[in-house]
Subunit: 497 residues, 2 copies
């Protein structure tokens, strides 16, 4: 490895990171404030820039260099970095650039169609795009020459190492233990939570979030910014530039609160990665499941706990005295944890949440093994919600059109949501052995929990695999029992079963 | 001109427009919501992307093609387009790319320093960057081999065809006729306007702007978006993507109102350019002065008129009953036009505004002919404000640090602000011959005025020179008397002189 080669490699990484920054910011802009009538003009040019990024990324000369680096360099960080680039590039290197650019264009069109379809409740408007996204994924995977099945390849994109076989074990466990338990919960006395759905001025909600919640979460405007959008997400360009979004709903004050805690959890992960990885492939969460474990940790394991609200409920009551003045802390706590068999994944409680994912997982498997087609997918969706949760969507936007993910071809992504929740349970158990979580939350030291996550998970970025991180942080590989036990224990107490 | 050449040319334009879109959106992001701690990371990559744009823009093979196009092609639109590109490229083609990238980086650093200096009121923090920006401009101009003097080259960048000689004539006229007139106004009975500076909740200001003002101005969220920023500006990527910003001040409710009318005036110009020019050098206002003529037309000639407020004042009173319930329309009208010898350019009234520009023009001339240095420029600034307006800034942020423009090396730009106001007066006179402006404003048909501007000015983009547009729209070349007569007439009546 000559100095010249190292310079060439660093230069390659820098050029890539410049396009990634631009594409990232254009993407955030599109999802938050970009005027819709300009979409076609912007999308066409965004597709071109994606193509430029693709050309640099798959540059054959650099691929040769990566082969050398990943095997011959002494520095283990660089070896890991080069190896990670190499594996990732091999997944796409055989895709003709023109097809890659056409895919980017199709993705933008599909997203725009999803937005329109959702607004007008017409699944038919989106269906051809969904079909096209599946075909694109199938086509791209066919270039890979992989031994993995099609759906396994997609699963591996988001959670390296995970397969349909492994997910089947996980989801079967959920089906066996949680589905009957949820039935029992649904037969228990309902928890009063109607007061959560009173009208609360969204301007005041935003004020409370900005003045109380974000400071409590230590989300620092120096490196973070929260915007509003239809479907909350987090995006980032480097350690010191992490963007979150939320959505304020007049008749559901806790919706934006928990989405804020969730998204800032993602932001903390990216912010806390060792800055020596900035601008490289290691400077990101190691997998989607690991990312989701951090956000759900914050949202559920911290945000839905009593000590969190011991610290924050008084100020929420003060902001909305008419709505919450006569609701006790305990009533509020029970309400934000109440379980309902409901329609909307992002509004689901912790207990039924994995069932929403189970349904999407079953549908994805079917779409890619050919047993389910897109044509009547709105009906298939409805049948599965009837079967597993006993609920029926009266509009497509409450049913199949509720999520953004399939609109941009992110198949194989949903299962990581449940996996992340399960990782989080395992981290939660380990963290409680090390620090007094409840006391930290109660006494405005949320940051103590974040520091634990930083030291045991976040600082590594993608330097170690998800499994290595789990073993280092908790002393064992992934074990879904932590998750299922936690849910059954929590909800048994809540519903006095 | 072969088909192959035409394809090559179109491809070149498309690639350029993609980088311009990306750089435009990154720029808006930087000035509105980007987390400050990420600036260094982003700026370095933005500089790289600017360099890529520069490489494409100055590609020698394309320059040869432009030479053919601008002389041999029959289509006059294409000839003009190629000629405009050619002239523009010749201004920068001899700059070494590495220097160009270094300049972009220096510009970002200078902007960041200006922000900091303004916050801490320390001119010294910004001074080295200002000096550096001047040197960069001097250096870049030295590559041009132009016969024009240094400052004339800078003036020509923003207002093609204008020179120091021509501006001297204009500003001398302003100095001779307006300076003594302003003295007379300042001796007349003051107009009561203290009520404008009462506290008005910025959340309610924003609500009024979004619910009343923007709809009145027909600023359509389908193609436009208004954000908030320290220093309001307008930016755009195409006909259907025009972004404005404003700043809400608690103790100056009309500040954001007039900045909104002003910036949406810029946005209308870009939106109304014939879309056949989208993505080319002709799809932008023909000069800075012409752009400013459109924004100031909206802000002052329309927005500060009685019929505009006959339509809008009742709802403003309703939004702020405590502040304006007992202020009559006429009192309000007089107040928003009241003249003060004051410190802040962007808050200046119509009458004293050109004096703020005159001061900046004199300073720029001095900086580039060597008679003024940056070291004590804060003092020089203060002396000139004393001399022309009799006021003294107690902090640098109210003095030399108030404007963003020099921080990014935009020397030669300020004079176009006064020129634009003067163009606008000439258009105003012509428009009133064609349509009943007052009746349009009064009866919620602001759009009629915009349509006149579209048909006579805006739709042409940069297809015709500023002088050609003035002659087509008003029947004569630029004549500053319209402006000075308008101001003297308006303020003589207002102050009963």
């Amino acid at each position: 490895m000559t100095d010249e080669q190292l310079k060439q490699y660093n230069d390659w990484k820098f050029r890539l990171s410049a396009y990634e920054m631009a594409l990232g910011l254009i993407g955030i802009d599109k999802l938050t404030v970009a005027p819709p009538a300009g979409a076609a003009y912007r999308d066409e040019r965004t597709a071109f820039l994606s193509g430029e990024h693709f050309s640099i990324y798959t540059d054959p000369a650099n691929l040769e260099l990566l082969k050398v680096l990943k095997e011959e360099v002494e520095d283990e960080d660089i070896r890991k970095e080069a190896d990670t680039y190499y594996r990732d590039i091999m997944k796409i290197v055989s895709i003709p650039k023109a097809e890659y650019v056409a895919f980017q264009r199709a993705t933008d069109a599909s997203y725009d169609a999803w937005i329109e379809a959702k607004q007008t409740n017409e699944y038919k408007r989106f269906e051809p795009h969904l079909k096209s996204m599946i075909e694109w994924r199938r086509k791209f995977c066919s270039y890979r020459n992989s031994e993995l099945s099609l759906y396994d390849q997609l699963l591996d994109n988001y959670e390296p190492g995970m397969t349909q076989e492994a997910y089947d074990v996980f989801f079967n466990r959920i089906r066996e233990r949680l589905v009957p338990f949820i039935d029992r919960v649904s037969e228990a006395d309902a928890i009063e939570d109607a007061f959560l759905f009173q009208s609360c001025d969204t301007v005041l909600q935003k004020k409370w979030t900005e003045n109380v919640l974000l400071p409590y979460l230590r989300f620092d405007p120096d490196w973070g910014y929260q915007n509003e959008t239809e479907h909350p997400f987090t995006s980032w360009t480097c350690e010191n530039d992490c963007r979150t979004t939320t959505k304020y709903l007049e008749n559901n004050v806790v919706s934006s609160i928990f989405s804020t805690i969730h998204e800032t959890g993602h932001a903390w992960y990216e912010h806390n990665i060792d800055p020596k990885y900035d601008g490289t492939i290691l400077s990101t969460g190691v997998s989607s499941g690991m990312h989701e474990s951090q956000s759900r940790f914050c949202e559920n394991y911290l945000g839905r706990s009593l000590p969190f609200w011991e610290a924050n409920y008084p100020s929420l009551q003060k902001q909305f005295p008419k709505q919450f003045g006569s609701v006790s802390l305990l009533q509020f706590m029970n309400a934000v944890n109440a379980s309902h068999r409901s329609l909307i994944r992002t509004e689901a409680d912790e207990l039924t949440y994995p069932i929403h994912i189970l349904i999407r997982y079953e549908i994805e498997k079917g779409l890619f093994n050919g047993s389910i087609s897109t044509e009547q997918l709105d009906r298939t969706w409805d049948e599965m919600y009837q079967k597993y949760l006993g609920v029926h969507a009266s509009t497509a936007s409450e049913g199949i059109l509720q999520d953004v993910h399939w609109s941009d071809g992110s198949f194989g992504y949903f299962p990581t949501y449940a996996l992340g929740s399960a990782f989080a349970a395992q981290f939660y158990s380990a963290m409680r052995r090390d620090i007094d979580v409840d006391e930290a939350l109660r006494s405005n030291r949320y940051i103590d929990c974040i520091h634990w996550l930083k030291e045991h998970v976040q600082k590594y970025g993608a330097r170690y695999s998800a499994d290595e991180i789990l073993r280092r942080a908790t002393g064992e590989s992934f074990n879904p029992d932590y998750y299922i036990d936690y849910l059954i224990d929590k909800y048994s107490r809540l519903y006095q079963l």
